[in-house]
């Protein structure tokens, strides 16, 4: 029997026994759906984490000198409490570190908190209030869409000027150009001098709801205790220079804090790499657990298919006898049942691939993750699905092929 004939027969059989076929494909279906879906999610998260998340939070070739790491996911309570007991980063610390760095770097102070911003009766709540120095815009790649950033003079003098995030600007000034108008933060008026271009969102959180004011302006009272910054941001030109700057900064901080050689740093220097550490840990787990789950689903699917095929062989013993009496050879019968099992699994795999793609499209639509389906995972899905079918089909098919035609024909 030609191969094509076997496939046609298998599809006929599947159509004739819809319910049974549905059940037997479910295992493979779930396995492959999960394979495609999970693969695309993990891949998407991976890309997202490396390209956007870490870059946005910290920046390339940049480190943040802070009291404790800003991005942390699996910290024990005791560690957390010890972080809380650490001394804060003072203006003087920031200045001393900046002065002592010998590699070319750009630095900025950074402090933040959440608060409200008002303009003529309108209140925007839950806005990130940022107190920074003038180079902050360069370091974080914040392009000013309209107006200008604040000058070093304004920064040093602590002038009451602000640069608005895109969303905030549009909320408070739906139909006026905000430049030159005064917004109020905790009752104090600040003159709007610029609006930052749209940044989009991160994990679904808008990156455009912020105001930036000079760190020494009255905003400092909103964001931190007197004389304290959240972070000194240091951006170098290259990775090695950043490492060198980190070493120098560490040395300066250790001597200012009078730490003995045995003592640990009581401050943190956070890089994008550090942020990614967490993610790498998580993705390692996902990559390890994922295939296991997929494997279990496929094994179960394979066993279900094998059972269905064994039942099919038993039910169709007479058919096998008839076919043999008409000249079917062992290999014809073998091929027929193998094709059926493989077709079942492939149908399941195909549905699984479609559902997996559907899931990842859905995910992309409702979440910020770029959950792209990789072609490789589709190929893998088809191969794995078909493979499960073949493996699950071999035993029932060989039982069918070995049937004695006389016995098979006698079967009612």
């Amino acid at each position: 029997m030609p191969f094509f004939e076997a496939i046609r027969l298998a599809l006929q059989m599947i159509r004739a026994q819809k319910l049974k076929s549905v059940f037997s494909t479910i295992g493979v279906f779930i396995g492959v759906t999960f394979l495609i879906g999970a693969w695309s999610v993990v891949n998407g998260m991976n890309r997202y984490m490396t390209e956007k998340f870490a870059g946005t939070l910290v920046g390339v070739n940049t480190f943040h000198l802070r009291r404790s790491p800003n991005v942390n996911f699996d910290v024990q309570d005791s560690v957390w409490r010890s972080w809380r007991r650490r001394p804060r980063i003072k203006f003087a610390d920031a200045n001393a570190v900046t002065k002592s760095l010998t590699v070319p770097v750009v630095t900025a102070w950074y402090s933040e908190d959440r608060g409200s911003v008002e303009y003529s009766g309108k209140v925007a709540k839950d806005i990130t209030l940022e107190g920074t120095t003038e180079r902050y815009f360069d370091i974080m790649n914040l392009t000013i869409g309209d107006g200008r950033p604040f000058t070093p003079q304004e920064s040093k003098a602590g002038t009451t000027v602000v640069v608005l995030g895109y969303d905030l600007a549009h909320k408070l000034f739906p139909d006026v150009n905000p430049i030159g108008h005064n917004v109020r933060i905790h009752g104090i008026p600040y003159r709007v001098i610029g609006v930052v271009e749209r940044q989009g969102n991160l994990l679904g959180i808008s990156l455009d709801k912020f105001v930036v004011a000079p760190a020494l302006s009255p905003i400092q009272r909103e964001v931190n205790p007197p004389g304290v910054v959240d972070a000194l941001i240091v951006k170098a030109n290259s990775e090695p220079e950043m490492r060198e700057a980190m070493n120098q900064a560490e040395a300066v901080m250790r001597s200012r804090r009078h730490l003995r050689p045995r003592q640990d740093d009581n401050f943190a220097m956070e890089t994008s790499e550090g942020v990614l550490d967490f993610w790498n840990k998580l993705s390692r787990i996902l990559y390890a657990v994922g295939p296991g789950l997929v494997g279990i689903a496929l094994v179960v699917g394979g066993i279900v298919i094998m059972n269905i095929m064994l039942v099919a062989v038993a039910e169709r013993t007479r058919e096998i006898g008839i076919r043999k009496s008409l000249g079917a050879r062992r290999r014809d019968i073998l091929r027929q049942f193998l094709a059926e099992a493989t077709a079942l699994a492939t149908v399941g795999a195909t549905l699984g691939i479609l559902t997996g793609i559907g899931l990842s499209v859905l995910l992309q639509a409702v979440s910020p993750l770029p959950a792209s389906v990789s072609p490789f995972s589709i190929v893998l899905g088809v191969v794995v699905g078909g493979g499960v079918g073949v493996i699950a089909g071999v035993y029932p098919a060989s039982r069918a092929a070995r049937l004695d035609p006389i016995t098979a024909l006698r079967q009612e």
Binding site: P2, I322, S325, L326, R329
Partner: protein, 243 residues
């Protein structure tokens, strides 16, 4: 009694002898006890003979039928079909012989219930490796020739017993086999339909088809030109009769 070719082991049958069995023996091992179903059957059937094989149950006629139909292999003895010694062929070679040389008609029709009449008739051609279009045409012709040209897309359960048996005959003949092997072909038919079927067999016989029919009904056997009776695994009688 027809004249036998004097046959010894090592000989080859004459060209016009379609079936030749020589001391055909078949033993079954039934849990340690050997049942001797056939104890040396020597029989020759010429081209275009119409032979009925009779015998009470346990006479070995089913065993004989299975051996003639290449569904089983003998314990000892020789079986020549259409000039080819088939008694010592492998499984796959036997499958090929069943496909090319033998057309089966069973008591229970043995049609595939889920397949249409046309597909049922196509089956032997599928295993013969015929291309789809040719095969469909050939199957359609075979169905038309048994008067079922308008029932091709019906499934067996949409056909009467007589129609089913005619589908089976179309299927048996679609590969132009050397012998038509009928096993109690009227066993599941009423007498009117049986008579019709016997008419179909007579026409086929007139058209040159060799027919071997196993039956236990004397009036059905009466349609054949020659009646072979088996008893206790050997040939008891072998008689020609007037048509």
């Amino acid at each position: 009694m027809t004249a036998l070719q004097p046959f010894r082991t090592g000989d080859t049958p004459l060209p016009d002898i379609v079936i030749l069995t020589h001391k055909l023996t078949r033993d079954y091992d039934m849990g340690g006890e050997v049942v001797r179903a056939l104890r040396g059957v020597s029989l020759q059937i010429r081209k275009n003979e119409y032979v009925a094989v009779m015998g009470p149950s346990g006479s070995g006629k089913s065993t004989f039928m299975n051996l003639i139909g290449c569904l089983d292999t003998p314990t000892a003895g020789e079986y020549w079909l259409n000039g080819q010694k088939v008694s010592d062929l492998s499984d796959d070679e036997l499958a090929r012989i069943r496909n090319k040389e033998i057309g089966f008609v069973f008591q229970t029709f043995n049609l595939l219930p889920r397949a249409t009449a046309l597909h049922n008739v196509e089956l032997p051609l599928i295993y013969a490796g015929q291309p789809a279009r040719e095969r469909r045409e050939q199957a359609a012709r075979a169905l038309t020739s048994v008067g079922l040209g308008d029932r091709m897309d019906h499934r067996p359960n949409e056909l009467s017993g007589g129609q089913r048996q005619r589908v089976a005959i179309a299927r048996a003949l679609v590969n132009q086999p050397s012998i038509l092997l009928a096993d109690e072909p009227t066993g599941n038919l009423d007498s009117a339909t049986s008579a019709e079927l016997m008419q179909v067999f007579r026409d086929l016989h007139r058209g040159g088809q060799t027919i071997v029919m196993v039956t236990h009904e004397h009036d059905i056997a009466a349609h054949a030109a020659r009646v072979v009776t088996l008893r206790d695994g050997v040939i008891a009688t072998d008689q020609l009769q007037a048509a």
